[in-house]
C-alpha cells in the first residue's frame, strides 16, 4: 500500500515532555487512504498518548522515529498546522470552553482551514452547519450552546463528530470515542462516522478503543493490538474477536518476557 499510504509511523518513541520515561517504545504503523484501522489495548498501553502525539499535544515529545503524513513530516508541524493539513483528533475528554458558542468556534476553525486570502462566507457556513447538524440528528439550538459547557457525555461526543463533519479531515483519530456512551448514543456517533466515511471514501480512520463494542458499529479493515507502547499483533477484524474471547493477558505476558 505504498502509493496509497496516508500515514506512516516508523519506530516512534515518545514521552511526557517533562519526564524521562518513554510511553511509546518503537511503534510502527501504516495506514492507507480510505482504510479504517482499530488499535486496541489495555489501559496504560499508550493508546491515548499515540493519539495526542499525532495531533501535536505540546505536553508530549517524540524522541525517536518518524511520522509521515501525506508525504510531509508531521512531527515538524504545530497542532493547528496538523489540523489544517487534514488530521483530526476526536477527544476522549472534550474540553469545555465557556462563553464561546459552537457556531463561533466552528466558524473560526473552518476559516483557519481556508487559504489565507480566502474569506469564509457566513451564509454558506451557516447553511453547511445546519445541513451537517441535520445529518447528525442534532437540534439547531445546539449551535448556540457554549462549547462542551454543561454537556452530557453523549452531547460531548456528538459535538466531536460535528466538528469532524465540518472540518472534513483526511485522517480522523478517534480516541476512546465509545467511552462513557450508552448504547443509543454510541449508535448515533458510529452512524455519524459511517456517513462521513461513505461521503469521503478517501478519509482514513484510526479508532482507538479498549473494547470490541465500538467495532460492532464501525467495521475496521485492520485491527492492531497495542501493549506497552508497541503494536504486538496486527490482522483483520477477527483479531478483535479473539481479544474479546481471550483478553489482553496473553499479550501482556508476551511483552513482559
Amino acid at each position: 500500500m505504498t502509493d496509497a499510504s496516508i500515514l506512516r509511523i516508523e519506530g516512534l518513541e515518545a514521552k511526557v515532555a517533562d519526564e524521562d520515561l518513554s510511553i511509546l517504545k518503537g511503534l510502527t504503523l501504516d495506514i492507507g487512504k480510505g482504510e479504517i484501522h482499530a488499535i486496541m489495548g489495555p489501559n496504560g498501553s499508550g493508546k491515548s498518548t499515540l493519539a495526542k502525539v499525532l495531533a501535536g499535544h505540546p505536553g508530549y515529545e517524540a524522541t525517536m522515529g518518524s511520522v509521515e503524513f501525506r508525504g510531509a513530516d508531521l512531527l515538524d508541524l504545530e497542532a493547528d498546522e496538523r489540523s489544517q493539513a487534514g488530521v483530526f483528533l476526536a477527544f476522549q475528554y472534550p474540553v469545555e470552553i465557556p462563553g464561546v458558542s459552537i457556531a463561533n468556534f466552528l466558524r473560526t476553525a473552518v476559516q483557519a482551514h481556508l487559504p489565507e486570502d480566502e474569506e469564509l462566507d457566513v451564509f454558506d457556513f451557516t447553511d453547511i452547519l445546519m445541513e451537517r447538524m441535520e445529518m447528525l440528528e442534532m437540534d439547531v439550538a445546539f449551535a448556540e450552546r457554549h462549547v462542551n459547557d454543561g454537556f452530557s457525555g453523549g452531547e460531548k461526543k456528538r459535538n466531536e463528530i460535528l466538528q469532524m463533519a465540518m472540518l472534513k479531515p483526511k485522517l480522523a483519530v478517534m480516541d476512546e470515542t465509545d467511552s462513557g456512551l450508552d448504547i443509543d448514543a454510541l449508535k448515533i456517533v458510529a452512524s455519524g462516522v459511517n456517513k462521513l466515511s461513505e461521503e469521503d471514501p478517501e478519509m482514513s480512520v484510526l479508532l482507538i478503543t479498549h473494547y470490541q463494542r465500538l467495532l460492532d458499529y464501525i467495521k475496521p479493515d485492520f485491527v492492531h493490538v497495542m501493549v506497552d507502547g508497541r503494536i504486538v499483533k496486527s490482522g483483520g477484524p477477527e483479531v478483535a474477536l479473539e481479544l474479546e474471547a481471550g483478553g489482553y493477558s496473553e499479550f501482556e505476558t508476551a511483552s513482559a518476557s
Binding site: 464561546v100 476553525a109 483557519a112 472540518l167
Partner: protein, 471 residues
C-alpha cells in the same frame, strides 16, 4: 471573524490613543494643590460663595485624612501630586456645536470617533478636555421633553436649586480622602436630569480626555433620574502615554428615584501612567433599578468600587465589572451594595484578567442592614490568569444584620489551561487566536451587556493584548 483581518490594521505595539495635541491653554494654575489653587478654580468658574466655602472645607478634610493603606500602592503618589497641574482651562467657554470648538481640540475628538458616534447612536454628547467640558450637546427632541444634559458648571449656574439639593449629599466630602480632594478642586463633568416618566432610547455619552503631561483631572458628575424615568449614560476615558504619572479622580453621584431605571457604563482606557481613583455611588429608591457596568482596561492603578445604596423597598442594584491588568498595572476594583430596605435585591458579577506581571484585585462589600428583611443578593467573582507571573486577590466583605437575608457568594480563579489551548489549536485555530477566544469567552457574560461598538472595541483590545502572550 477572519484572523488576518482582526490583526492587520492594528498598531500592535502601541496604545491606540497615544497622541498629543498642541494646544495652548487659556489658563493653567500653578503645580500642586493649595488653598490658592482652590480659590483660583472657584474664581474662574464665577461660583457662588457657598461653593467656595464647600471647596475650602473639603481641602481641610483632604489634608486631615491619611493616604489609604488598604488598596493599591500609593507610596509614590504624594510626590506625583506635588508636580501635577490641578487645573488647566483649555478654552474660554464651552461650546454647543463642534464647529465652534478649536480645531486642535476638535481633531482630538474626531480621532476618537466622538462626533461620528454622536450623529449615529447617541442622544447627547459631552466632551471634557483637561479640566473643562469643551463641548456639550443634547438632541432637540430630548431637550423639549425637559431632559437636562449639561456641564456640571452650567448645572450649578442654571439649575441652582436642583443642584444644591443633591450635590455632595450622595457622596459626602469626608467619604474618603479622594472624594475630599475632588470636592476641593472639582472641574468638569456632567449634570443630568431625566424628568418623570421620560425614557431615553439611546445613551448619553461623556468623553474624558487628558492631553497634557502631569495633568490632574477631577470631574464631578451629578445625575438625577426622576420617578419612572429611564436612561443610559456612558463614559469613556483616554490619555497619551507619558513617562511621568498623571492623576484622575472623579466623583459620580446618582439618584435613581421611585420606579426609575438607570445604567451607568464606564469604559476606562487611560494610558498606563495614570492613577485612577474614583468614587461612584447611586442612591436607589423604591422599586428603582440601578446598574453599573464598569470596564477598567487602562491606567497604572485604578481603585474604584461603584456602589448602590438600596434605600427603598424593592430596589434593585447591579454591578457588572470587568478588569484587565497587563504588565505594570493594578486594577483594584469591585463593588459595594448596601441593602437598607425590605425586599431589595442585588447582584455583583466581577471578572478580571491578569496578564504578564499584571495584578487584579476584587474588593467588594455587601451589607444587609437590620430591617432590610427578605433581601437577596448574589456575588460572583472570577479571575483569569494568563501567565505564571500574573496575580489576583479577592477581598469579599459580607456583613449581614438580618436573619432572613438570602446571600450567595462564589469565587473562582482559573488559568488558561494547556488542554483548552490544545483543544482549540487541534481544530486548526492558531494559538494567539485560541487564547483570545478563551478570554473573550470568559468575559462574554459582561461583554454581551455592552453596546455593540464597545463590545467590538473590547474584543479588539483583547485580540491585541493576547498577541505574543503565549508561552
Amino acid at each position: 471573524m477572519p484572523e488576518n483581518e482582526t490583526i492587520q490594521g492594528l498598531d500592535l505595539d502601541e496604545y491606540k490613543y497615544d497622541f498629543v495635541t498642541e494646544v495652548d491653554p487659556v489658563y493653567r494654575a500653578q503645580r500642586g494643590l493649595s488653598e490658592e489653587v482652590v480659590r483660583q478654580i472657584s474664581q474662574h468658574k464665577e461660583e457662588p460663595d457657598w461653593m467656595l466655602d464647600f471647596r475650602l472645607k473639603a481641602l481641610e478634610v483632604y489634608e486631615s485624612k491619611p493616604m489609604p493603606k488598604w488598596g493599591g500602592d500609593l507610596d509614590g503618589l504624594e510626590q506625583v501630586l506635588d508636580e501635577i497641574y490641578f487645573y488647566v482651562r483649555p478654552q474660554d467657554r464651552m461650546q454647543h456645536s463642534w464647529e465652534d470648538v478649536p480645531d486642535e481640540i476638535k481633531d482630538t475628538f474626531e480621532k476618537l470617533g466622538i462626533p461620528e458616534a454622536e450623529r449615529e447612536v447617541l442622544a447627547g454628547v459631552g466632551a471634557q478636555y483637561e479640566s473643562e467640558m469643551v463641548y456639550h450637546s443634547l438632541r432637540e427632541e430630548w431637550e423639549k421633553q425637559g431632559v437636562i444634559f449639561d456641564s456640571i458648571e452650567d448645572g450649578l449656574k442654571n439649575h441652582p436649586e436642583l443642584f444644591r439639593e443633591h450635590f455632595g449629599t450622595i457622596i459626602p466630602t469626608a467619604d474618603n480622602k479622594f472624594s475630599a480632594m475632588n470636592s476641593a478642586v472639582w472641574s468638569g463633568g456632567s449634570f443630568v436630569y431625566i424628568p418623570k416618566g421620560v425614557s431615553l432610547d439611546t445613551p448619553l455619552q461623556a468623553y474624558f480626555r487628558v492631553n497634557q503631561e502631569r495633568m490632574g483631572q477631577f470631574e464631578r458628575t451629578l445625575i438625577i433620574v426622576d420617578e419612572g424615568a429611564q436612561a443610559h449614560y456612558i463614559e469613556g476615558c483616554t490619555a497619551p502615554v507619558y513617562s511621568t504619572e498623571s492623576f484622575h479622580s472623579g466623583v459620580i453621584e446618582i439618584v435613581v428615584k421611585k420606579n426609575a431605571r438607570f445604567r451607568y457604563t464606564t469604559i476606562q482606557n487611560w494610558s498606563n501612567n495614570m492613577y485612577n481613583l474614583v468614587t461612584q455611588r447611586a442612591i436607589v429608591e423604591e422599586g428603582a433599578n440601578m446598574e453599573w457596568l464598569d470596564g477598567n482596561l487602562g491606567s497604572k492603578l485604578t481603585m474604584k468600587y461603584p456602589s448602590c445604596y438600596l434605600m427603598g423597598e424593592g430596589a434593585h442594584g447591579e454591578i457588572l465589572s470587568i478588569a484587565y491588568s497587563g504588565d505594570g498595572q493594578h486594577q483594584d476594583t469591585g463593588g459595594k451594595v448596601v441593602h437598607a430596605a425590605p425586599h431589595t435585591t442585588s447582584s455583583i458579577v466581577s471578572k478580571s484578567i491578569s496578564k504578564g506581571h499584571g495584578r487584579s484585585t476584587y474588593r467588594g462589600l455587601l451589607k444587609v442592614h437590620e430591617g432590610a428583611h427578605h433581601a437577596r443578593s448574589n456575588v460572583e467573582c472570577d479571575a483569569l490568569l494568563i501567565n505564571e507571573t500574573s496575580r489576583t486577590d479577592t477581598y469579599p466583605y459580607i456583613e449581614i444584620e438580618e436573619n432572613d437575608a438570602n446571600v450567595g457568594h462564589e469565587a473562582s480563579v482559573s488559568r488558561i489551561g494547556e488542554e483548552q489551548l490544545f483543544y482549540l489549536t487541534s481544530r486548526g485555530i492558531p494559538e494567539d487566536e485560541a487564547m483570545a477566544m478563551i478570554v473573550r469567552g470568559f468575559i462574554e457574560p459582561i461583554a454581551k451587556e455592552l453596546p455593540l461598538e464597545y463590545a467590538v472595541e473590547l474584543n479588539r483590545l483583547i485580540e491585541l493584548e493576547m498577541e505574543g502572550s503565549v508561552g
